[in-house]
């Protein structure tokens, strides 16, 4: 009974390959009163550095994670409790805390980390989290993959069945893109939903994935319960030509790193691992062709070929638009294209990868929007 | 004076295109030298102390000399002394002609020849009455008989040392003389063949060897042995004619190897490993001393399997078979005689006892 009032803060697991993280610094002092969504500390992984937000309320009674020290996932790094919980109870809690479930056990419970589905467009890799509630589909952007939803998928899965897929030409899905158009990608997404037996889902699309989601809402309105458009393409013509060119053309870490820094408000978030992982993806056979074909078809000459805002406004699909204020790839003012019909949130201090840079805020918006639309 | 034996060993026989078209033998130089060493040992065993050899640059003599030197250094005295005809080496058939003539002049008692039909033909052209002991190292080899060269050496040694009477030791051979009178200049070229003369319609000499039958028109043979290889096999398989009977055989073949219209079709081993179907329109005996004028008006003449001469409509070609044209060592007869008279035992039967 006692433990219910003591709330452990543990090293989070961001993404399926994360096994440990380094505490880089605390943003709240011991004794602070914490509300849900408050930024508690910064954690650095080999992939990315991010802020851990509070998921509970209480007083920060103990800070255990030492800055500069690496902790395994789920290790206890702080304790939240109401002021009336005795210190002895908290000490007892800490001394008996055991890191629950080792990595292997966790995998065994959750099943394989990634799945593949055979679709008319080819093999599609996806991840699935959660068992209940509304079905949500996460659609990444140009050059991305399902790990772009590192900080999103588990948060949404608390109250939904969440799918995240790799679009054709991306991640570990087929690299073959027959027709580099939004319609073709939308068809591939619908084919994926058919393959996993989902009739209708809440679409969450980032960047190009937002445009794919909009295309799907227009072509197959019955299958799109709602739209959440994050830094989405398809809401205006502008897009940073230099970013697209640079991303497609980069073959070395030296070339790619500055390009990736464009994606974030905080350039320091681009880690060596993130660059290496993207280079490894870009070296795969077929990726270069796929990216070139898509960029030529969708973003030629630095202009977006498809602007779907008007159609979406008319269609009446419940829509959320989220943007990072400092987005240097697609300008944040594109958010206003749907201002009259959608909920629009522009988040300060975040760039194009707003769902990673301000995960807590974006996740809260998504949960709220999906709950309302369902 | 002890008899001297001449040796003509051709280093370049069995090098022609039939190695490619028909898997024909190519006897290595080192093996030719080994053959020669065996012959030399046999001659020495019969009392021959000196041999006179044709010089060549093909390596045979160098190998032979090395073998003899090794025997000497082991203290063995099993070879006769080896002398070389003093003459320039051209690497062509002229060397054989030249060396044979020199040996004849030097008075050799017999000529041991290593080569094919072509080499024997070149020797026969110059050897006069000196008997030939042939050893086959060539391709078609209808003329030299096949046997272990040691035996040929023994027979030659026995013959030249007088231990076998000449009428047994030596036999007469036939040949066909070919005469070609140029229509343009009036000049006459004469050639000869020991076994066969083949007339083909193509006029270029090319790679010399004869292995295609489609242009083959006429065949003249001194003997027709069904056991031999080459164009003369065609005659042998139609009507055998012995080496020791008078006259030969003339065969006409159908144009372009046509085997259909009323002609006799024959399968014959015209080269090693090559069975050919030929159409025969006619064949008849070729008596000695009668000049034959062929029907083919232009083409080339292959002598013992190699194209040598070409002729046109303006030229006049005639062929005449001659009996008793030159002599060979009759190895079979010599050895039979040696056995019957125990010539190689410690106490040979007196020579006269054989009669």
């Amino acid at each position: 009974m006692l433990n219910e009032r003591i709330k452990p803060i543990v090293m989070p697991k961001w993404g399926l390959s994360m096994s440990e993280g380094k505490v880089t610094g605390w943003l709240k002092r011991p004794g602070s009163t914490i509300s849900i969504g408050d930024e508690l500390l910064e954690v650095e992984t080999d992939k990315i550095t991010n802020v851990v937000e509070a998921g509970e309320t209480g007083v920060l009674r103990r800070v255990l994670g030492e800055p500069g020290t690496v902790y395994p996932v789920k290790a206890l790094i702080a304790v939240l409790a109401e002021p009336d919980v005795p210190d002895d109870d908290i000490d007892a809690f800490i001394s008996t805390y055991a890191v629950p479930a080792s990595e292997d056990d966790g995998e065994a419970e959750a099943g394989p980390q990634y799945h593949t589905a055979e679709t008319p467009a080819g093999t599609i890799r996806y991840a699935k989290r959660g068992e209940a509630g509304p079905t949500v589909l996460l659609v990444h952007g140009f050059g991305g993959d399902l790990d772009n939803w590192l900080f999103t998928i588990d948060a949404l899965a608390e109250k939904a069945t969440v799918y995240a897929l790799d679009l054709p030409g991306h991640g570990q899905s087929t690299k073959r893109i027959v027709d580099p158009s939004l319609s073709s990608l939308s068809q591939a997404v619908l084919g994926f939903l058919d393959a996993v037996g989902v009739e209708r889902a809440h679409f969450v699309g980032h960047s190009m994935g937002g445009a794919v989601s909009m295309r799907t809402a227009l072509d197959a309105p019955g299958r799109v319960a709602s739209l959440s458009l994050i830094a989405s393409a398809g809401l205006g013509e502008r897009i940073d030509h230099g970013y697209i060119q640079g991303f497609v053309g980069a073959t070395s870490r030296r070339d790619l790193k500055p390009v990736l820094e464009t994606l974030f408000a905080d350039r320091g978030l681009v880690s060596r691992q993130m660059v290496d992982d993207l280079l490894k993806y870009k070296r795969l056979d077929g990726v270069d062709e796929a990216l070139r074909a898509l960029s030529a078809s969708l973003f030629a000459e630095g202009r977006q070929a498809s602007v779907l805002a008007a159609g979406i406004a008319d269609a009446g699909t419940p829509t959320l638009v989220v943007w990072g204020e400092e987005d240097r790839v697609i300008p944040a003012d594109h958010a206003q294209a749907l201002a009259s019909t959608a909920q629009v949130a522009v988040i300060p201090g975040a760039g194009h990868m707003v769902q990673m840079e301000a995960a807590g805020k974006v996740n809260a918006l998504l949960k709220d929007h999906i709950a309302k639309a369902d | 004076m002890a008899p001297v034996v001449g040796i003509v060993a051709n280093p370049v026989s069995a090098r022609d295109i039939r190695r490619v078209v028909a898997n024909a033998t190519s006897l290595q130089i080192a093996d030719r030298a080994n053959i020669l060493l065996r012959v030399l040992a046999a001659l020495h065993a019969c009392g021959v102390r000196d041999v006179l050899m044709m010089p060549e640059n093909g390596g045979i003599r160098a190998h032979v000399e090395r073998g003899m030197m090794r025997a000497r250094s082991r203290g063995e005295d099993i070879y006769p002394a080896l002398h070389t005809v003093s003459m320039p080496v051209t690497g062509t058939v002229a060397d054989t002609h030249h060396a044979t003539a020199e040996m004849r002049r030097a008075g050799v008692s017999a000529l041991v020849v290593l080569g094919g039909d072509g080499t024997h033909r070149a020797v026969a052209a110059e050897c006069g009455t000196v008997p030939i002991a042939g050893i086959s190292t060539g391709t078609n080899n209808a003329f030299p008989e096949h046997r272990e060269p040691t035996i040929t050496g023994l027979a030659t040694g026995l013959a030249v040392t007088g231990r076998v009477p000449p009428h047994i030791a030596f036999s007469a051979n036939k040949r066909i003389d070919v005469s070609l009178v140029s229509g343009a200049t009036g000049a006459t070229v004469t050639e000869m063949a020991l076994v066969d003369v083949a007339l083909v319609t193509e006029r270029y000499i090319g790679a010399r060897a004869l292995w295609r039958t489609e242009n083959f028109r006429e065949l003249y043979v001194t003997f027709a042995d069904p056991e031999v290889i080459g164009m003369s096999a065609i005659a042998g398989l139609l009507e055998p004619v012995g080496r020791d009977e008078s006259g030969g055989l003339m065969v006409r073949l159908s144009p372009d190897g046509d085997c259909r219209k009323g002609v006799t079709t024959l399968h014959a081993p015209i080269a090693p490993g090559m069975m050919a179907r030929v159409g025969i329109t006619d064949w008849r005996r070729m008596p000695a001393g009668v000049a034959f004028v062929p029907e083919v008006s232009a083409g080339s003449v292959a002598l013992d399997g190699e194209r040598e001469l070409s002729f046109s409509e303006r030229d006049r070609l005639s062929l005449t078979l001659r009996d008793d044209a030159f002599r060979t060592v009759n190895v079979a007869a010599v050895m039979r005689h040696a056995g019957q008279n125990r010539l190689l035992t410690g106490t040979p039967v007196p020579v006269t006892a054989a009669f």
Binding site: Q172, R272, K280, R283, D285 | -
Partner: protein, 344 residues
């Protein structure tokens, strides 16, 4: 999909994938199938250390055992490349280059230049390099500098399974002759490698570790020794940047110079003999092009000027160790770091 496989498996997989992709790819070498013409099993060896094992079952006669006749078959691979195939010829131990070097450096390397740019020779010659296998002086050398010296050749030396696969695929697709050097002591080393095909471009060094205090440049096996040294140095507060060259020709000068301009200190590690090797080459280049950035004399850590010895006690002294690399780094950090030192 990514999974852990060894460098040996990665090379096998690269050959398999490229043979599937491109029918002009053929693979030849001594015993790469094994047992050809013998009475026992097909595919008896799959290479002397089993690198090509199993490929014969998948690709049949496109895997060709050769006579022990390097001049002839390396030359044949080069001739076939000049006629439109993409042969991968295994030279087993690259030490054997001595008997076929003419075909490599006078023929393959020169065709394009000598023929006025009208020839392409997309041949890959792969073989084992490096000491530590108790294989003695004629099966253990790091002869990479000899190949690197020759214009017209490209020289690759991966340090891990991921790089080996991507670099070998690039080598096969490359239109120039490539010498692909496989350190025999890395064959068993595993790392995450995608199952798909991918190519790593030439001339791009891999920065394995970031650091601001000193730059350590190496390739092949000694990259791992450099990483060990860097880990040890980090405990003392020295952060070393470790650069794995991956390809020696072309070489990524930019990454080296940019790093040295930041750290001001350079240690070059080369398993080759000390004279005219990659270490001297890089040291000279940095001395010429980034002298102003240097805070200390450049240190070179190499094998000694001796043949590779046989006895384990000697061979273990032969290959540059993590300790010797760390010591070299410390020399660059000491006040006397800039003073000249004559290498043994």
């Amino acid at each position: 999909m990514s999974r852990k496989i060894s460098m040996k498996q990665a090379i096998n997989e690269a050959l398999d994938l490229e043979m599937r992709r491109d029918p002009t790819v053929i693979v030849m070498g001594e015993d790469i199938v094994g047992g050809t013409g013998a009475q026992g099993e097909d595919d008896a060896w799959g290479g002397v250390l089993g690198v090509t094992k199993g490929l014969y079952a998948k690709h049949g006669d496109r895997l060709m055992d050769t006579p022990l006749s390097e001049s002839a078959y390396i030359g044949a691979a080069i001739g076939a490349a000049a006629c439109g195939l993409r042969p991968v010829a295994e030279l087993m131990f690259l030490d054997f280059m001595g008997v076929c070097f003419d075909q490599i450096f006078n023929q393959a390397a020169k065709f394009r230049y000598m023929f006025g740019g009208k020839a392409e020779t997309p041949v890959v010659i792969r073989g084992m390099v490096g000491a530590g296998f108790r294989a003695a002086a004629q099966h253990s050398q790091m002869l990479t500098p000899l190949f690197t010296h020759i214009p017209g050749l490209k020289v690759v030396c991966p340090s891990n399974a991921y790089d080996a696969k991507g670099l070998l695929i690039q080598s096969i697709r490359d239109n120039d002759p490539v010498i692909f050097c496989e350190h025999k002591n890395l064959y068993g080393l595993e790392c995450e490698v995608p199952a798909e095909s991918y190519a790593i471009p030439f001339g791009e060094a891999n920065v394995l570790r970031d650091g601001d205090d000193v730059t350590i440049v190496s390739y092949g096996l000694t990259v791992h020794r450099a990483m060990e040294a860097a880990a040890a140095l980090a405990k003392d507060g020295t952060e070393a940047e470790v650069i794995d060259l991956r390809t020696l020709s072309p070489i990524d000068w930019d990454t080296i110079v940019e790093s040295v301009e930041r750290t001001g200190r350079l240690v070059v590690v080369d398993e080759a003999h000390p004279r005219c090797n990659l270490a001297t080459d890089i040291a000279a280049f940095v001395g010429q092009n980034a002298f102003g950035a240097l805070k200390a004399g450049i240190q070179m850590v190499t094998a000694p000027h001796t043949p590779v010895p046989f006895s384990p006690s000697l061979e273990d002294l032969y290959v540059p160790s993590a300790d010797s690399i760390a010591s070299a780094v410390r020399r660059t950090l000491s006040p006397k770091g800039a003073s000249p030192r004559i290498a043994a």
